[in-house]
Structures are given as C-alpha cells and as structure tokens.
C-alpha cells in the first residue's frame, strides 16, 4: 500500500479506543489511486453494528483533506471478515498500556465452550488470575473482566 498515504492514516484514531490508529486496528484493507486522481480507501468494519465506522470514515476524509487529498472515496468491504488477528503487535502493546487487555490470538481462544473462561492477562498487574464479569462490555468489541489479585476491573478486547 502507498506509504505516503499510510503515514497520513497513522494519525487517524479510533474514536472509541483513541490510543489505536485505524492502521493498528487493521481495518484499512487497500489504498487505490485511480487514473482520474481519485483516492479510494477500502475499509472493513470491526463489528457489523459498530457505531464508530461512520465517524472513522469522516475522520479519514478530514485527515486526507488536510494533507491535500480532496478527491477521496471510502469504500466499505465486508469480505474477508475482520478479525483481531489483523491488529498490529504495536497496537496490542498500546492497548495494554492504555489499560485494555489485548485480544488473544484466534487459534488459542475464539471457540470457547459454554461457561468457559479464557486466561486473560490483567493489563495492570499482569496476573492471569482473572475472571469474566460479562461477555459484552462498553463497546461491541470488548468484554468486561476483573482481576482477582489486584481487584481492578478491566476491559478485554475480545478475540474476534
């Protein structure tokens, strides 16, 4: 993908988890410069109903426009479906530093049995002695956990 454009998009943050850029999230799937000078950005939604997607598209447009790209088309692509495995390692570290437990790798976690809990590491004290409070958290992409050692509740960015 076009490095110059990528450098610009690195400044567009996820409005719900502002520590992550759209690149960290892995939602920018392709960048195409058309012959007529139009710049097409292909993005994919994290969750189908994620209310941040419209704002993300608007922010991408604004950031590109501030850098001189005014003819911009943003296209939503659904396939292949987004997975947390596309999140950058740097993004996962940023999440942890921000106090959100990063998603476990898909092969290790996604198919859990009923009532099963995944060993999610507490982003505050690094303990694995944690418990799930709710499968659904403050946003579609997060679950709510609590650490049994330091007692802090925390968000876990669900493996998806």
């Amino acid at each position: 993908m076009n490095q110059k454009i990528l450098d610009i998009l690195a400044h567009v943050a996820d409005p719900e988890v502002p520590v992550l850029s759209v690149l960290d999230l892995g939602i920018v799937r392709d960048i195409r410069m058309q012959d007529n000078g139009e710049l097409e950005i292909m993005i994919t939604p994290t969750y189908t109903g994620c209310p941040a997607m419209d704002m993300i598209a608007a922010n991408i447009r604004m950031e590109l426009s501030a850098n001189g790209y005014v003819q911009v088309k943003i296209t939503n692509v659904l396939s292949p479906a987004w997975t947390t495995d596309w999140m950058s390692e740097e993004g996962k570290q940023k999440l942890k530093d921000y106090g959100i437990a990063p998603p476990l790798p898909k092969q290790q976690a996604c198919r859990s049995e009923l009532f099963a809990e995944q060993a999610v590491q507490c982003p505050h004290c690094n303990s694995y002695h944690t418990t799930r409070i709710s499968e659904f958290g403050s946003t579609a992409c997060k679950a709510l956990y609590q650490c049994r050692d330091c007692k802090e509740p925390f968000d876990y960015f669900k493996c998806h």
Binding site: T48, L78, S79, L114, E135
Partner: protein, 250 residues
C-alpha cells in the same frame, strides 16, 4: 432485478431489525447492568446486520430506495419477519428464550449462507456469523442458568416455552421466495435446518432441566406479511419520527 432475491434479503433484514428493536427495549431496564449492556450490544449487532441486508436490498431495487426507506417507510403487511421475533419481551426469561431460538436458527442459517453463490449475501453472513456465535453462546448459558436455577426461574422458563413454542415451527416452513432462493442455489432449504436446530436445543434443554416440547401446531404468516398484533405497535414506535417528520436527519 430478481424479485425473489429482493424479497429474500428483505426477509433476513426484517428478522434482524425487529429482533434488534425488541431487544433494544431493554435499554435501561435490564436485570443487572452487565446484562443490560449485553442485550443492547446484541441489539447493536442485529441492527448492524439489518443495515447490511437493507443496503443490499436497496441496491437490488434501485431508483430512490434506501436502507432507511425500507426500514422506516414500509407498513406491517410489507414486513416479512418471523412471528417469533415480534413477540413481546415479557420477562427476562422470555426474552432469553426468544433470543436462544433465534440465535440457534441464525447460526445454522448463516453457516450455510456464508457459502452462498451470491457473493454479497455470503460476505454479509460470514461477518454476521461471528457475532451470532456470541449471541448463541450467551443465550445458551442463560437458558441453562434460568432453567436449572431456582424454582421461580424454572417456572418462568416453562411459561416462556408455552408462549413461544408455537412460533418456532414457522422458521422451517419455507415461503415462496425462500423456495426459489433454494432452487437457485443461493440459500439452503430451511426445512433441512430443523434437525440441527432441534439437536442443539435438546443438548441445551437437557442441561437446563427443561422439557423438550412435543410437536405443536405452527403459527405462520409472518414470512408473507400476516403478523400478530404486536408488529403494528413496534412500527408505530420505530417509524414515528420518519412518518411525522419525513426525511428528517440527525
């Protein structure tokens, strides 16, 4: 435009929208904060899925049809959602059981649709399936928790079962547009999904100590626009703004 395809996509959209709307009525009323958040997150997923289906249907229809005109400007007779999803929320047990019936169904249906030869439908369903998998897990856990909980929670689940069971038969009786979608190789035969649905239900009900109900008379009509009295009230609530202030935007 393929008329059956438009109708088929609209049916999938209506199921997701109406169930999403019903669940959203719990917003601020859930039995515990975490579960209030869970049910409204499920609403968000369902309404997001409905949007994808509506956008595709609008594209098929062309002219000035939009996702919004399909959601907000059709009357009850034009909605083809299942009767099950429009049933009243009742207590938490009834809402949970309705969700479990529907997630169990959507899980099997989307699993097949993600391999549809219609690429757009396959893409929407592959994505939706990931979310429905959560819904199925969450609602299964709750059916077990309530069924095998206290005498009170158990009896409420039995009541919910009595209320909702007659509406489950419709899931597996194909409407003309479903038959045609199946013949064209775009969708599975819904009657074939029944066995897997029942098997999963038996597994969960066994653990939940709930009786598997015998075969019952199936209430039908939703798929062809003949609804219970509840849908009109849902639409009155959901469509009020666009009906009173046409074209109004955020």
């Amino acid at each position: 435009m393929n008329d059956f395809l438009f109708k088929y996509i609209l049916h999938l959209a209506d199921n997701a929208l109406i169930l999403g709307h019903r669940n959203s009525e719990w917003c601020g009323h859930g039995p515990a904060l975490e579960q209030d958040i869970a049910i409204t997150n499920i609403s968000l997923d369902l309404i997001g899925q409905a949007r994808n289906f509506f956008q595709y249907a609008a594209e098929l229809k062309g002219t000035d049809t939009t996702e919004d005109s399909l959601a907000y400007l059709r009357d009850a007779r034009d909605f083809t959602n299942l009767l099950l999803v429009e049933q009243q929320n009742g207590d938490w047990g009834k809402t949970i059981l309705r969700q479990f019936f529907m997630s169990n169904y959507q899980f099997l249906l989307y699993n097949r649709l993600q391999e549809s030869k219609n690429a757009q439908l396959a893409a929407i369903c592959a994505k939706a399936l990931k979310e429905v998998t959560y819904h199925l897990k969450w609602s299964s856990e709750w059916v077990i928790r309530l069924g095998d909980g206290t005498d009170e929670s158990h009896s409420r689940m039995i009541n919910a079962l009595h209320d909702l069971w007659p509406y489950t038969g419709e899931l597996f009786i194909p409407a003309p547009y479903e038959k045609q979608a199946c013949e064209e190789g775009i969708a599975p035969d819904v009657s074939e999904l029944k066995e897997g649905w029942m098997q999963n239900l038996i597994n969960i009900f066994d653990e939940a100590k709930l009786p598997v109900p015998p075969k019952a008379f199936a209430q039908t009509g939703g798929k062809t626009g003949l609804h219970t009295e509840y849908l009109g009230y849902i639409l009155a609530d959901m469509q009020f703004l666009q009906r009173s202030y046409p074209g109004n935007k955020w």
